[in-house]
Symmetry: D3
Subunit: 304 residues, 6 copies
């Protein structure tokens, strides 16, 4: 049932148009073509779910799948989601080059090349993700089976998203990569920038509040807990006071490090291999291999 109301829509629509005009003028965008289309978060979500199914068909694929016919499912699913990814890649490249538009054919060729390289990496990705699943299973005393780990653990879901996103990030599709990261962030509370480089057998337990920055580098067999930050200490500014983008500014964490909940590690420092960082500890200087830092140990000494 509707009512006898009058929202003065004509006036509101006009004012909103003025607001958009001002924004576009301020952004230097008044001369852009009128049909700019951005990649879609919804489509990317569908693509990632399909990829996850193709990578782990009997666990994340359709419930009625049988081993005997896995390959049909894997092949068809990949065909379908790579086509969809190709279209999103075209949209991102078109947006990236909107000031100097590429030829239509050139645009497509670039997008196809990226998607082809991406597809070729998938078998390797699956093997690396298997190491992550095993790391989760062995790292949590509450884990009952590897299948529970794959179905339920937010840390596993986050690393699947990240490893897919990182492939696209490396090949220049930073917007698609970021959308994928944020899909995982929204679902799990784990915020891994797609630029971060992460080694095999990686495990995040619980995970809510974890932040891993764009230039972080993480070795193999690293385990971290909820609310850990691998962040930047400060941002470099250029001569005009603007933030400099792309500088290495996040930690390097070497192999076999464990970082407990709430620890904060800031800046381009190195946590040496085999170190253990206690809960809530705050670290802003490099640590040698085999370090064992806790709040208690810190309080009895000067701050690292």
């Amino acid at each position: 049932m509707t009512y006898d109301h009058n929202w003065q829509l004509d006036s509101i629509v006009e004012q909103l148009r003025d607001a958009r005009s001002e924004w576009r003028s301020a952004q230097g965008r008044t001369h852009e073509p009128g049909d700019r289309e951005l990649p879609s978060r919804t489509v990317m979500k569908t693509i990632i779910e399909a990829l996850a199914g193709a990578l782990f068909p009997m666990r994340l694929g359709p419930p009625d799948l049988r081993k005997a016919n896995e390959d049909f499912y894997v092949g068809h699913t990949l065909d379908s989601c790579l086509n969809a990814l190709l279209q999103q890649a075209v949209l991102e490249l078109r947006h990236t080059h909107r000031k100097q538009p590429l030829e239509c054919a050139e645009l497509r060729q670039r997008a196809e090349d990226i998607v082809r390289r991406f597809a070729a990496e998938l078998p390797r990705l699956r093997r690396v993700l298997d190491t992550d699943v095993m790391a989760a299973y062995h790292g949590d005393p509450a884990a009952k089976s590897v299948d529970e780990v794959l179905l339920c653990y937010p840390g596993v879901m986050a690393i699947i998203h990240h490893r897919i996103a990182h492939l696209l990030y490396r090949d220049g599709l930073t917007l698609l990569a970021r959308i994928i990261s944020e899909l995982a962030h929204s679902d799990t509370g784990i915020d891994i920038h797609p630029g971060a480089q992460i080694g095999e057998s990686f495990f995040i337990d619980h995970g809510t509040g974890v932040v891993i920055g764009e230039t972080a580098i993480i070795g193999e067999r690293v385990r971290i807990y909820q609310a850990v930050t691998l962040g930047a200490k400060r941002f470099e500014s250029d001569d005009q006071g603007k933030l400099m983008k792309g500088q290495p500014r996040h930690p390097i964490v070497e192999d076999d490090v464990v970082i407990y909940a709430g620890a904060t590690i800031l800046g381009r420092i190195t946590i040496g291999a085999g170190s253990t960082i206690g809960g809530n500890v705050w670290v802003t200087r490099s640590l040698p291999p085999g370090s064992n830092v806790s709040q208690a140990s810190l309080r009895n000494q000067s701050r690292v």
Copy 2:
């Protein structure tokens, strides 16, 4: 395929009815009319997504939209979602006044007035949100474009929700406002009470775990990071030991303050303009303008 089971449903249904009766007796609700309907989280989600599209048509609106026809889209979308909002407003007002029901016409009139005032604020809202988008773009070295910021950043999504929710909160629709806040909280891990007052050019980076309380007041150009709390120190109780509701109990943060990750600021204190609060710092007293507080600085002095 179903089985030969028997859940003893008759008995369970009866016991559940008894449980509801007890609850209603204890709450003094036995005499309420039988058809009380509450606002819907699902409907509010649809309304907010439509409003976001109307505010940013080329980026959050439908993918095939072109500039030439933006106004049609904006006008129709507003018409549709304001009508839907009106119905939700009627539901909230009816619920609020359920002990002394309003006349049907009076109820509608009030709801229409609120929605009309809300609609009239939208152009101003868009301009303020533009300042938030720019703040995000300039505040994060990893941001590649303003479009990435609007599409991907949870902090931006949270502030869009908050500014909409705050308009409704101010005009008395506190339940609808709270539903909107919790939609953002669920998606982003950022928990801003709709009562909080927040100035222009506000940016939350990463965001998971941020909590901003009902009576907090935040100035312009403030930037905060994940897991920051602007909370209450203690709750005032009345003579009978019940919590007093609505008292100012959260911080005032003045213009140009930066608060790093994990900082906790509690109570009705004031953080002076231009201050920087370091990560994980715990603040329970007011700070003068230009303060620069870090864990290190705190350890060398008495606690603020």
Copy 3:
């Protein structure tokens, strides 16, 4: 529009098959039957939403429901979602016993018994949840009504999920229980292991980042805030260095304890009744009843 691309899918599909084969060999799973089907997260989500509606029909049930006909709705909804739960229970039991498969009839009988016991507990569950709702309403000065609390508060949503999950966990359906917990974790950022034992009148405010471990025991009228961890201090390993699963390793929190945001309580210690744990405090030893611990109090004394 599609393009003239060629993903070399035959080769990729073959390589993915090899990766799966290796994984299965390594896991000793090559001889499992080909049609193993796992419980479904999507189905469990539907079941939980239906159960929540059946428990709170006028608030979480369908909008057009009237008191006069609540019982029909409750009965039909229970019938439908208990049937669905039965099928998920069969899937979990089949998976659990995949190495020594049960007789078909035996499998069904066990699943039916579990679901029947589960159903019989629902009226008690509703009464306990009512105490949680009242705890939330009385515990937050910003709460405007018990209905707002039930509709909006993530802490309430998390405890509804937990109490349901815990029933299944106790009866051996640990995978279904875990799926339910992770549904709540994803929506609210609150991570309660389904094994945790929690008393009546429990309230989590804000909640993002809360972690409560598998063997935690929580008394009545406990209130906790965002980012609180009730975790394990260290994991016991067996003779071969493997983590020992199922050992008591998380805290016991007695009645009437309040734990403020960011506090970390680790290990099988006991927080005595009536204690208050301040924000960000780190506790690894037992505390007597009535303790009042804050960062300030800790700094003036040796660490608890």
Copy 4:
């Protein structure tokens, strides 16, 4: 992907507005309120499907229903679809009285009265439909079971729709009734005007092309085949040459008549009890009981 097109939408929208204005002027509708809402075909489809499920729960209800819990399903489904029907009834009454709008309360009262009377008729309706199902089963040598008949036979689906529609038609909701009839017409090719009065044990086989007019009266145990028309011979006009609406103008078919495919029976004539009308026969005069009319008999000439 969109293109650089320009549809001149402003001009088209303006011309369409002019066309609407002219139509409204011609129809004398320019002064009607702006928010007139019509009943919804989609909603009526949902209502009818729910009613069919409530009438035949084990066959047209949800697949997992069990006899033990039928009543819960029936009760809840009726509650839900009668509420929905009430809203559609309000819309029709408001539309009917749009020139002299009823008081809001009066409108609701009338709609409720109609729906209450409708609900009270449902048990009788079920019994009558059972006679139709048996008639179908006994009337078709290809029918294998009564369940097949209920699940598959378009004639059965058409009579379920008709009997529901006729109840509403009799009580003045002619628009809702017509919508229901057209839903069946679209699905089955059987066009029964909701005004037609039809006795028990009615069976239409195949059915495509059957037309039964508004004032037709059909006795018990009548069987008809595809493409049979029970139509009007000519329309009465009033003094000004306008068609007179509502006059009896369609046939009366008495008990136990069989009418074979393609027969056409026109005008307010009576087909006497027990008659058989052959395929393709054209009848425009009354027939005594026990008549047996075929093309051959009519023509007294040899047939192939």
Copy 5:
């Protein structure tokens, strides 16, 4: 639950591939590009429903629409569905020219031109459809209002589809046109070839079984009933015995003709203005204006 079955899918898939290969060889299609995409029936259905809403916004548009904001709805809906139509037009043109593919830009230009011309015709279309609605209202004594006619009458739905389809057919998009016709055919049982030319104020009552051929020409104010055929008498073959396509072979029906149910009119004959053709009559020769033909008149013999 799945079973231990084995469909021999590898073999079946291979045999199906062979069958496709043979078909393609036989059709000379082995060298066509691999990504040929056809227009979509589902998309066309969505487009037509949107167009119908834009043409009749208060009756076929969204239920909450108000007159004050019709233009926003109309403009946005047209923008959206013309874009979708453009994409379907590109697909048809690409398919049509698949043996001698057009340049990408040329293809788009042609599609845009067609859609632009189509859009420009819509206001005229609306006025013609208004005459059809009035013809239905005045032509059926059972019609209660013009709104019932537009909402319920299959004949009205069929003519809306036809007039849209005919515009596209005339401009060369015969496949899209045919898809639209078949959507109406499936819903209403009325089969009007999109090539048929039909004047204003056209009304089909009941409609099931009506067939109107590709080259039929129908004047103004014509009324026809169910199961009427305006068909071809025989098909012309060329020298090699193949059917000649596109020859005029269906009737011309002049203004003000009424054709009753089941009449069959075949061949390129002319039914003169103002004629009445009785039910079931079979006509294969031209009739002068004002003819009145019935079975009785044809046979000169008594009828029942």
Copy 6:
């Protein structure tokens, strides 16, 4: 918004229960198990659409499919829809044998055998359907391409459904077969009983109103038009006056026959090869090969 109504649901639910009890008593069904589940029309619709896609992947499969990856799609789609068909087959067999229930394993084995045989027939089916498509293309002068025929022609859609249904009918799944037939009947107005035997290169043009009976036998290259009936003349009754089921009672139509619109052919007669049956002709005796029957020839009288 809901109202203060009261449907007396308790009473209505009770009366409906009584009606069901009476029906079950009358049908001798009171002792059947409580969880009888029938096959689902909705599921069968999905299965048929998937099968159609697997048979004609580039035309009825997903729009983004490319030839290079057809086999993946075909294999996965078949795997998925044969599994779904298996479950429906189990339901039908369980229903068929409900009075003497089969062992669980026996039931499954039978269903699997039927589905395996069905699957093995699919390649042959595709080849036969190709002949039908060609027959449609060559038989209609309005057909523009074989793709248009497959996408748009209701006659082609009906024969795809029929040939699938007939396979199941022959193997005893008569209920599933009937459901498939009625899906086609509802969409196209063409009613072919799944028992009918139809040769290659079969074409039905327009099709609305066509009825082909259970025991009809149709040769190769037969073409029929709308409203043709191949029906039974009379039904045989047994000693007790009950209809005898399964007797041959419909026509045999030999190769190369054409039957024009509206013709009615009744009884177990034979229409000799190469005959042409004119429109509206009524035939109840066998015709020798090469017959040419029209209304004119039958009546030996002039026609208009």
